[in-house]
């Protein structure tokens, strides 16, 4: 180490200069902002509940259950997604289909979005391509989302749901959340 470095004073001063410059520049911007120049930002902070950072167009955060041509869900209640789910947020109740060719259907399929980590494993695990993740925003406002952590991204089967022990029955009226980019399900 050079003796000049050991004294440390020059480094201290240059560091102070750097932080002081930041201080004054940001202070100026804050003042300009307060005086009405809206595009002057003294901070990179996003004031979260009031401001939002836009979601990436590549974000896949909205679960969607795919349907067959006749409108029934493709899910066969194989529980692969439930098994692979690292957050234990998928709840499926299986039931029998009157058509022996189809045999097994899900009577209730719910995802606890409060627990979901959006890893996408369920999409990969599904052998029937019955679950996908789409672009879209989870909840309109985060506070609203916090209030109903159990928002169901679910579909009711063709059967009327039978009473099940866990309160994860799908809303029988709204069959599926509106998916922003409707794709041909096939």
């Amino acid at each position: 180490m050079r003796p000049a470095q050991r004294v440390y004073l020059r480094e201290v001063l240059s560091g102070l200069g750097l932080t002081a410059r930041h201080f004054f520049v940001n202070m100026g911007r804050h003042i300009a902002h307060a005086l009405g120049r809206r595009n002057a930002r003294g901070a990179v902070t996003i004031q979260y509940p009031e401001e939002h950072r836009g979601y990436s167009p590549r974000l896949r955060s909205l679960h969607r259950l795919v349907r067959r041509e006749d409108g029934s869900p493709r899910c066969v209640a194989c529980m692969m997604c439930e098994t692979v789910c690292p957050a234990y947020c998928i709840y499926i109740v299986a039931g029998e289909h009157p058509n022996p060719e189809i045999e097994k259907v899900c009577e209730a399929f719910s995802i606890d979005l409060g627990k979901c980590v959006f890893c996408g494993y369920c999409v990969e695990a599904c052998p029937e391509d019955a679950i996908r993740m789409d672009t879209g925003i989870l909840g309109d406002a985060p506070r609203a989302r916090a209030r109903r952590t159990r928002r169901e991204a679910s579909v009711s089967g063709t059967h009327p749901p039978r009473p099940d022990p866990v309160a994860c029955r799908p809303p029988s009226s709204s069959p599926s959340p509106p998916s922003p980019s409707p794709r041909p399900s096939g």
């Binding site: 004073l9 201290v12 560091g15 102070l16 750097l18 932080t19 002081a20 930041h22 201080f23 940001n26 202070m27 804050h30 003294g42 901070a43 990179v44 902070t45 004031q47």
Partner: protein, 365 residues
Amino acid sequence: MPGTLTDASIAFGLVTFVMLFVLNLGGLMTWIERKQAAIMQDRIGANRASIFGLRLMGLFHPLADAIKMLTKEAFYPARADRVLFSLAPFVSVFFALVAFASIPFGDTLSIAGREVPLQALTFNVGLLYVFAMLSLGVYGVMMAGWSSANNFALLGGQRAAALMITAEVAIGASIVGVVMVYGSLNLMDIVRGQGALLGGWLPMWGIITQPLAFVLFLTAGIAATKRIPFDMPEGESEIIGYFVEYSGMKFGLFVMADFLETVVIAGMTVSLFLGGWQVPYLGREGWAFPWGATIVLPRLPVALLQVAAFVFKLVVMIWFLMLIRWTLPRFRYDQAMRLGWLGLFPLSIANIVLTGGALLLWGPR
């Protein structure tokens, strides 16, 4: 005895003024610290506390902090020495608070027919007084560290003690130069001495006559207040320190003491090196600029200007201390000790020798 009564009320007024000024400044410093750090780091800083939707740039956060601390549980560790444990934060705050008393914030002012020096405590060894009070602050820390019955707290207390001794030796040695130049231990005299002009145009502030002492004093002063970069006694990433076991308002008092000590160090620096309440070229009768122009002012505006100058300098100094606090990383303990004993102390001694030589060559006598 109306005279005594006037004296008493003047003294009471001065003490109250200083007390309120220092306390409020100390309280505000939590806000200053947050906001300044935020602005330096491209952030906005705490601004969420609101009263009826009114946020005022986060000015209510100190209030919210106080409410939180006052309503927290008063916790005592199982094997703690309860008396010392409760006493420690008060000792810390007390000495930090009284230290400011002897720092002058203005020239004399004539009130009710007498010349009143604008300082809470007129004391002819005022400098030593401030110094002594600062050095007593260490007892609060050591009591806290010892009475918590916690090894980390004890270690923090010991580190604090060692650090403060180190820093005080350096402070003591570095202010000797200033004392030699201005020839007094009375802070009022020292400040008054800085009003003289060097070569007819340069105000004879301590920073000009004693530049080395200024750097040494500032460094040692920061060390004495245990603030970053000298916060090993409370280094939160390693030992947390003497107040590990404290919670609620007792903890708050330690933080408060920290801020108050910062104010005191800033006040000392301003008084010793930045001309105190002096405004350049402003004398008792008004401005007398070196190029001959004069502006005559009555006594009261002059005194107010001087007080304003002192407050302004103090605030700038606090800003500067904060800047240091948010710029430099923490020293390692041995580095701080090395700096204190092998850096600051010998340099202070050298400064004394240099000053002595300079005074012999160009001195007044």
